[in-house]
Point group: C2
Chain length 512, copies 2
């Protein structure tokens, strides 16, 4: 790494000197959990789900299609492969998963922003994948590369977003064949937080790893994870070549893979949530096992994305009690397996950053963090079932992520926290407003949500009676206006740009 | 009780035949918890807080002012009383609290709506106390008796609201000296769910108990709790006569009392949350002990209401991580004490039913239910730090309460839930949409949130691009329009009206 961490770190802190955000921890750039997990199911219940997953892998098996090399790897690894159906002898997946690191570091180009994934750590990442964007003034429209750049610049300045992901929105104005290059460049240049690589096609995954090599150096990447691919299985029980090729490219290079079954219960899995959780576990565990056949010890994150369904329309619903419960349960299952977990996010079906959006996102996210997910994609910006990225939603969510971050830090119970001296100073029926203990502690006592308005109704009216969405609109505009790019070595920047230019000249314009 | 439970129960169900609400459990009219508690603090941490509460009761003591009879009761009970300061020998409060019922029934005039309070049960009650109301068209204004009546009628029809409370808004158009009579009549007549009684003055508490006697019969009330008073201590460490007189009236009549310290950290308690939790425990526990001196075995609910503070203005903030943690912790402390708990609610500082309102309410409420509060006042309708009742907020919150209700019911793990047959019917890469297991289960598989919009953006736009607040506005208007009063014996109704008329003629118009 040739980046000047102190220099860019200094700039970063300067960019965050906003007084209202001073209660955010300056480092580390992820959350070290200090609170217990919520043990939702008992041992017996967890074993029922694990046995169901084992049964699926052993008796039903998964289809691995479109990638003969994947089938060869499975065969060589000892799986029962018939045509494209792969079944694993009882215990094989769990055995293979033992070499998955329980915790690993994803290194950022600014090492202050490197994140620990797994164990008792939490990383909040941006929404991933929406083709549309929405903001209060501009309305709903296809995302562009300019939107993606804006969103990277905003996310970079929000301390509770630890990871910018990749497709904060789909930049629909650039051919699919080329957009991964422009996207990656923006994550690399306009932020110094960790990010993801492309997966839609094997050569795009390879481009991503190659661009990371420009940024971090080939040698450094032999022993460090600096980039990951995020893939979905094709539930139910189908894994296509996007997944297995990404596994070969990323894990083959010692980099990370996240595999998340997306199961809309009643469609891609049974309509009963317990069955869908077990299926998700089986699917993700088999991809995890596959990564370890590709390269034992490669970083892998077991993913889970479970949605309930509207009885009115069959549309996916979010923040509902069934996926909330699954967030608790998959956390338990992942810890028993000993692998890092991706689940949850600030999910909603709402079109707008309104009360529905916030309620669904909060219940989804609170259960995600209590449940113990390590890598939380879609933690900020998700709207409309993942079809749109909300500019306002991004900053609203980040404000709540700061609150979860404080909660995950736990509650001090030391002598200062118990404040016995204060009761000597303040008599019963008195008040603690000016007492020594209050003066010594008030600046750090409470989370200060930037976007929450807690003033009197008269003050609020004087300031224009702005609702949360309007304040969020003003905030992201301010952030975009205030943006200063993190420092980057000019030669490195040129090298990255040259890579992008060269690859774009080699590739056809294709929209798939 | 002379009410015809089957008859009015039948009407109630008829009034709820709305297809969209069919997934709500028809009975019982409260939540039987099937999921574990979240054990946030370990044994050592809990003991630290209990010892702090013991220290406060023993060394600092509480002031009991304005009620000499209360001091006499304390002295007779063995407390150390000096002037108005009451200190309890170590262990005395805990010993006295042993006669508090761990669980009791509050009987409703429709016995189908009676609720179990304590143990592994949860009761959701309306917001209590706001002087203002707000709705989308009418804006913010002082509450009136008509508003209170409207809100009772709406709450009556919302299945996830189990208890209508009392002061859903302050009816500011009726003199304070008389409004309790009109309020109680409306709760008794326009709903058949359980409710609370007045506490602001001893004679008003007595009027409440007397009206309950008209409705339920004196003899019935000797052995059944049908009404409760809800009081606040004057934190820090002061208990005034409103509390001790309410305890004597309600508990003296074998009825219930809820005592909730309202602590804005940094003002009415230390700025560190741990100290404020311990102080709240000490204050509420001492009132609980007092109720048991008044009448051993009287129903008592230990209350807790902890607010954090805005660093910008000193205003109370809600839904923030510190009170969220306190919701988990006070649940643990109350279970160790073995008494029913009131805490939390759908709290927010927001003026509008917007994203801030929903996020803060959701985090507040999710932690409340996971933490195990038994009686949850302010579960629906709270806005603006408790200064305003939101019509839209009431129905929005109720929609989310239904989701918590489903979560509290836990996740089935039986053979049907595991759906192994479905994997015989559906091949890998297929779909479960029409399979037998889906057809047999889809109607009950997922919570169907009435107010959540999960349709496509095109459908949503066709229907007018309505946000959550607009849909909530339409829903409460529809409910008010559709309202049908529960059946009531005509003679009983006349007797209640006569009581109200007589008492109002005896009382002066007073505005305090």
């Amino acid at each position: 790494m040739s980046e000047g961490p102190r220099k860019s770190g200094g700039r970063r802190r300067a960019g965050r000197s906003n007084k209202r955000e001073r209660v955010m921890p300056a480092a580390p750039a992820y959350v070290k959990r200090q609170i217990p997990y919520y043990e939702f199911l008992n041992e017996e219940g967890l074993v029922v789900l694990e046995e169901q997953a084992d049964w699926l892998m052993q008796e039903i098996g998964l289809e691995f299609r479109g990638d003969p090399e994947a089938l060869r790897i499975w065969k060589e690894g000892g799986a029962d492969v018939k045509d494209t159906r792969v079944r694993l002898p009882r215990g094989m997946a769990r055995e293979l998963c033992k070499t998955i690191p329980a915790q690993f570091t994803q290194v950022a180009r600014n090492p202050h922003n490197s994140v620990e994934i797994g164990g008792a750590n939490h990383v909040f990442a941006c929404v991933y994948g929406p083709p549309f964007v929405r903001d209060l003034e501009g309305g709903r429209r296809y995302g562009t590369m300019q939107d993606l750049e804006n969103l990277v610049k905003i996310a970079y300045q929000l301390p509770a977003i630890h990871h910018t992901g990749l497709v904060i929105c789909e930049p629909c104005d650039v051919p699919v064949s080329k957009r991964h290059l422009d996207m990656l460049y923006r994550h690399m240049r306009y932020s110094d937080k960790p990010f993801l690589g492309a997966i839609t096609e094997k050569s795009r995954a390879q481009d991503s790893v190659d661009m990371a090599r420009v940024l971090f150096g080939t040698e450094f990447m032999e022993n460090n994870c600096v980039i990951m691919g995020n893939v979905n299985t094709n539930s139910p029980l189908l894994v296509d070549k996007v997944v297995t090729e990404a596994a070969q490219v990323y894990c083959g290079a010692g980099q990370g893979l996240i595999a998340a079954p997306f199961i809309l219960g009643g469609a891609m899995g049974p309509v009963t949530t317990a069955a869908s959780i077990a299926q998700a576990l089986a699917e993700a565990m088999m991809v995890g096992a596959f990564t370890q056949l590709v390269r034992p010890g490669a970083p892998f994150i077991l993913g889970n994305f479970l949605s309930s369904m509207s009885l009115k329309s069959g549309a996916p619903t979010f923040g509902m009690p069934e996926p909330v419960m699954s967030n608790f349960i998959i956390g338990q299952l992942a810890r028993r397996l000993g692998v890092p977990l991706r689940s949850g996010g600030s999910l909603t079906a709402s079109k707008l950053p309104d009360a529905q959006s916030a309620a669904e996102s909060a219940d989804s996210m609170m259960s995600t963090v209590i449940g113990g997910a390590n890598f939380i994609l879609h933690a900020a910006g998700w709207l409309e079932g993942g079809l749109a990225t909300g500019y306002e939603k991004l900053v609203q969510d980040a404000d709540r992520l700061g609150a979860y971050q404080v909660m995950l830090g736990g509650m001090p119970l030391d002598d200062n926290a118990l404040a016995r001296d204060a009761y000597g100073e303040v008599e019963p029926s008195g008040h603690f407003l000016g007492c020594a203990h209050t003066m010594a502690n008030y600046e750090t006592a409470y989370y200060d949500a930037v976007l929450s308005d807690s003033e009197s109704v008269e003050q609020w009216e004087d300031r224009g009676s702005k609702d949360s969405a309007r304040r969020a609109y003003e905030r992201w505009n301010q952030l975009l206006n205030d943006y200063q790019a993190p420092a980057m070595d000019v030669a490195k920047d040129e090298e990255l740009k040259a890579f992008v230019t060269k690859r774009k000249s080699e590739l056809p314009d294709a929209w798939y």
